[in-house]
Symmetry: C2
Subunit: 328 residues, 2 copies
């Protein structure tokens, strides 16, 4: 035991988000034995965020009663376009000033261990695939619904990231040409209809229009600190307005799922991300039913649509999987 | 040469459509050396159509001055859901009574050579990939716009048909939830907005509403014999109404292409089928421009969007490719 602990046989997964940084230390059987969390503070600049990432990793390693010498590698998911080979974050819309950041190189200098950088949805899909589904299905699509919406594709047992490593931008699949404006400039993107941002906007617009909801009693009229969990509480207390907004989002998630099943016919579709983590009981029934309505006859046969149980840990778990595979 | 001709080193590709059957004989370099065409006449029943398929193949082989003994295999594309392993057509919506037809078995009995059955869009994509793109890109999506709309996916150099062999049903990807009714029962499917059927419906509805178009001068008020080529003629003579309808369809094709590029980020998107064959000059500019507008920044970088030059021959070429690969 003492001998094993001096070997570099642990893996760190790190999930870099727009608001928080999450790190987890995993053993070779992919069990999480320590974790740490820091806020991102991207307004302080790229270099400061890179330092915070390094610190978060060191904190998690210390939390697991290990030293960096016992870490074989770090796998990191970044919220944007990533060049895997060079480990560069090409562009991350939710991180201030992140353009062509050589994250792999910078972190390897700070930490002294190999670092592997991937897109955050790719890495979360990999985590779900390996740790939750035990790599059993041949193909799997992970759809992650949070502030934005993204996907990771597993095809023939491997992460598929496309020609220029940008596959999975399902949030910008148009499902309603004449729909609401999306942050990307187009109209009717999936993300503009069913992300947490879209759901919150619809609720705030409804309140402005005089809709009655318990949320204003819970949080005040401005709904400033609204979180997905508040929606769940309101629905469970019988709030019809919130229920309607969440159901509509679930229908769009069902339609987008059917689109994916029609085009790719994967063995499993896994839904994850903060919105699903908070509202799985409220949304999954509608999602599965709507997907079945919109999929072509036959295409849904035997296809599973499930909510991930990894929740917020999908990213760090996938990071550890990536590090384990890459250092083998 | 005489010796080579007695060997079974030719391949037959067959494209089974709702209205016509097309067969082509190919040499080992995938050059077409003889072809034949028959109408399908699916109203005569499944057995008669199977006989017609066999006859069309024999006609093409005879046309190429060969005998069946010189054919190594037949690759066949059927318009519907196919079980490749058993060679059964599970369901073909445009062929009367086609449900669980053991096409491979029946044809092998009639022809005495190995027969391989695939979905028609898969086979057309394979034909374009191998014969037109020389298998160079790692990933390619072939989108075929005709009476309906379907796609074939090449991923990592191989045909990808998904978990239950139904991948590529891009025609039933919803792009406008509140859009026109589709034959499948849902609303706003890509096929209900941009297929030949959809374009013709829009033109006929416009004429009923009093829209002026040269098409009524060319074909009479009922527009009974309307073909895609007539649209091209009308547009080239300055018909604004037809131009508008075709441009709108091209925009939807562009949006669907962007959806696919966002999700799969393939190296090449090839557009084919009767509508593109007849109207490539009129549509491709709008398609490429709209796709670029709707794709996420970066995802379209280096991705090619091109019209297939194989036209109606994509299916028979792909059939020959399939037979060649399967008999190797």
């Amino acid at each position: 035991m003492a001998e094993a602990n001096t070997k570099a046989e642990h893996f760190v997964g790190l999930d870099l988000g727009g608001t928080k940084i999450l790190a987890g230390v995993f053993d070779h059987s992919l069990e999480c034995i320590g974790s740490a969390k820091l806020s991102t503070k991207s307004q302080r600049g790229v270099d400061k965020v890179v330092e915070r990432i390094a610190r978060c990793i060191q904190d998690a390693v210390d939390e697991a009663d290990l030293s960096m010498k016992q870490v074989a590698g770090v796998g990191l998911g970044a919220p944007g376009a990533v060049d895997y080979d060079s480990g560069t974050v090409i562009f991350a819309p939710n991180l201030e000033g992140w353009k062509d950041v050589p994250l792999k190189k910078d972190l390897e200098k700070l930490l002294g261990v190999p670092v592997f950088v991937e897109n955050d949805c790719n890495i979360a899909a990999l985590g779900v695939y390996v740790a939750e589904l035990k790599s059993k299905p041949r193909s799997m699509i992970g759809i992650f619904i949070g502030t934005g919406i993204g996907a990771g594709l597993i095809i023939d047992g491997e992460l598929f990231s496309g020609f220029s490593h940008t596959a999975g931008e399902i949030g910008h699949m148009v499902v309603e040409v004449s729909g609401p404006k999306c942050g990307c400039g187009n109209k009717g993107c999936f993300e503009a209809l069913a992300s947490r941002t879209a759901i919150f906007q619809q609720i705030k617009a409804g309140v402005k229009d005089g809709q009655k909801t318990m949320l204003t009693e819970m949080l005040g009229d401005s709904l400033e600190d609204l979180r997905s969990g508040d929606l769940r509480k309101a629905i469970r207390r019988g709030d019809k307005f919130v229920d309607r907004v969440v159901e509509s989002a679930a229908e769009y998630i069902g339609i987008a799922t059917a689109n994916i099943v029609n085009v790719l016919n994967p063995e499993v579709v896994v839904l994850g991300g903060g919105v699903i983590e908070a509202l799985a009981d409220e949304m999954m029934g509608v999602i599965v039913e709507t997907a079945a309505d919109y999929a072509m006859p036959g295409t849904m046969k035997g296809v599973e649509i499930v909510a991930s149980k990894l929740g917020d840990n999908a990213g760090i778990t996938g990071g550890a999987v990536l590090a384990k595979r890459a250092t083998k």
